[in-house]
Homo-oligomer: 195 residues x 2
């Protein structure tokens, strides 16, 4: 048991180091050697945990999104049911709430890698299935409490809101003057006010 | 004059060939050599027009988006003013209307390249400034005709609608089961019905 725990702990440390390197040089330029150096270990030791950059990128993203989901869980637990929880589940996935400046550009690059890499595509699908469950769950909750129109199509609304959030991520990187943090939160408020 | 025309015509042929290669092998794998071969010319002849893959990708995207804008112009000219034109200006930029299957994945990869490449970032900014002018223009037109609430914030609505369209592109590549062409058009209809 302790060995498994240590291994998971070590992999988490690698993911943290990977994100620090990405913050400094970007996801495309980051190498396994950079990440090993960041941790003060050899590339050979790092290979004990990750054999390729692709594997490490997959893990670092899953690790990062899992942290966001944990925060989402903690925040929604103490928020009012329905729309307030829905807002949290969407806001935390927008660049307005990312810890690292490099996270949005890294996410765009991760998406591009995922277009022709099954491992990364599967990580994305798994993360988004989890996110989708939360978003649609809070929409159902809001509907049951009469916070939405009775005719609300939860599946359609879920997909539309997730697309909107992803679009703010694209905009924050490629049209930063249009997609300030304040603007992104306004866009989300506006969408929620129309439910 | 004829020489300039020939050169532009030739560059357009290169862009068309580049898109055919991207459709076959993807944007990441496509090489200048593949594109030269597709045209039946040498890589040296191709270098007369484009010195790097980055330059060619920038041109091929600008070329592709310009074709979409031309179709948008032709379709909106004969459509009813206001919301009907707005719908066209948004729909043509969704994957539901792309000519090539590979275009969505190529666009995601182009965005990723643009995160750390100024030439591509500038092409994107220029294209999106043009698109933004159309979207906001048709929103103003709709507002002036009483098709929208009087209080509509056109700048906010423009940015939100563009983000939504970009999000459907991400979804169509990475969650294709959720973002079918029919679903994307439904999402857009839904957004327009709420204006």
């Amino acid at each position: 048991m302790p060995k498994v725990v240590d291994r998971e702990k070590r992999r988490a440390e690698v993911a943290e180091a990977a994100w620090r390197v990405v913050e400094r040089v970007g996801i495309r330029a980051a190498t396994l050697r950079d990440i090993a150096e960041e941790m003060g270990i050899t590339k050979g030791s790092l290979a004990h945990y990750f054999q390729s950059k692709q594997q490490l990128v997959a893990f670092a993203f899953e690790y990062g999104v899992t942290r966001v989901f944990e925060r989402m869980e903690a925040m929604t637990r103490v928020a009012s049911p329905g729309v307030d929880r829905l807002r949290i589940a969407l806001e935390l996935m927008t660049p307005a709430h990312f810890d690292l400046d490099a996270a949005s550009a890294a996410a765009l690059t991760f998406w591009a890698y995922a277009t022709d890499d099954k491992l990364l595509a599967d990580v994305h699908l798994r993360n988004y299935a989890t996110w989708r469950t939360r978003v649609s769950g809070f929409l159902e909750e809001a509907k049951a409490r009469g916070q939405l129109r009775a005719a609300t199509d939860v599946a359609l609304e879920t997909t539309a809101l997730m697309a909107l959030v992803d679009g703010t991520l694209v905009g924050s990187v490629l049209e930063p003057d249009q997609f300030t943090k304040a603007r992104i939160l306004e866009i989300l408020d506006h969408a929620l006010s129309r439910l």
